[in-house]
């Protein structure tokens, strides 16, 4: 009986064995590049916000942080876009969405006006793997017009 209890406690406390750690979620890179990066660049990734090497959620953008000095002035690279997706995949959806809504402490305050804000709908749709849904695609199209940056 005692041995069985010890075994149960040990199993309960051991957690995942090496090599079976939670893999990052698979997020749609193409949908991110097309729909989400323009929102991220305009709302999140400026050099005075998440476009900063010291930020826990570090985000790259053409007008923000670059992976290397020589990339300044050049279009965003596939590697930078992949890094942004990896950064988002590594944290909980609710953390991203609640902070952006201002429902959690966020230095940048509330970025979206509410859960019906097209930018919110677009980002959330991507996070839950629904970028192809008509409502999400429609929201992303509206969001794109809101966050478009002037040409260099």
């Amino acid at each position: 009986m005692r041995r069985a209890l010890v075994a149960i406690v040990l199993v309960a406390c051991s957690g995942p064995s090496p090599g079976t750690t939670n893999a990052p979620r698979a997020l749609d890179q193409a949908a991110y590049d097309r729909d989400v990066q323009p929102i991220v660049e305009a709302r999140c990734a400026t050099l005075d916000c998440h476009g900063h090497f010291d930020r826990p959620l570090r985000l790259y953008a053409e007008t923000g942080l670059r992976r290397s000095d020589e990339l300044r002035g050049l279009p965003i690279t596939a590697q930078e876009l992949a890094d942004n997706v990896a950064a988002a995949a590594a944290i909980d959806d609710s953390l991203i969405l609640d902070k952006a809504l201002g429902a959690m402490k966020h230095t940048g305050g509330a970025l979206f006006t509410g859960t019906d804000d097209p930018q919110y709908v677009c980002v959330r749709g991507w996070l839950v793997g629904a970028s192809a849904d008509a409502a999400v695609a429609s929201a992303c199209a509206i969001a794109a017009t809101q966050v478009a940056l002037p040409p260099p």
């Binding site: 660049e41 050099l47 090497f53 942080l65 670059r66 000095d69 300044r72 940048g108």
Partner: protein, 147 residues
Amino acid sequence: MKAAACFACACVLIACIGQTPEDQERDAVVSIGPHGPEHNPGSPCLLCHDFGLAGTIYRRAADENGVAGVTVTMTDATGRVFTEVSNATGNFYTNDAPTYPVHVEISMGGVKQPMRNVVHQWGSCAECHRPDAGASSAGRIFLEKTP
């Protein structure tokens, strides 16, 4: 002997504490010119000053000296518009506190340069616009794209 050791320890402790990143950044500012609106062009103004937004404008990206007479138009999140003109060393500042994000455009003699993105929270332009463009610097704020 014991008192001397304690004194030495106290001196070391005092020397080690009190240096925040802002302190270090402030210490790194090279003092240029007499104190006043034209001093320390290119430095992060809000390290020492309580402005709403401030920076230095150059005619071209590679220029060492700022340019006077450039109109800086700042439009904040509420639609309020602040306008300032750069002084002899290229410096400008506004004491008004904008609501972020702020869109900035510079113009002179019919030449306009809108900032492509917005300022989200840092009122010191030089925090992001350092002399050399690089991974974490957009380079100087300049009016003309010609080298």
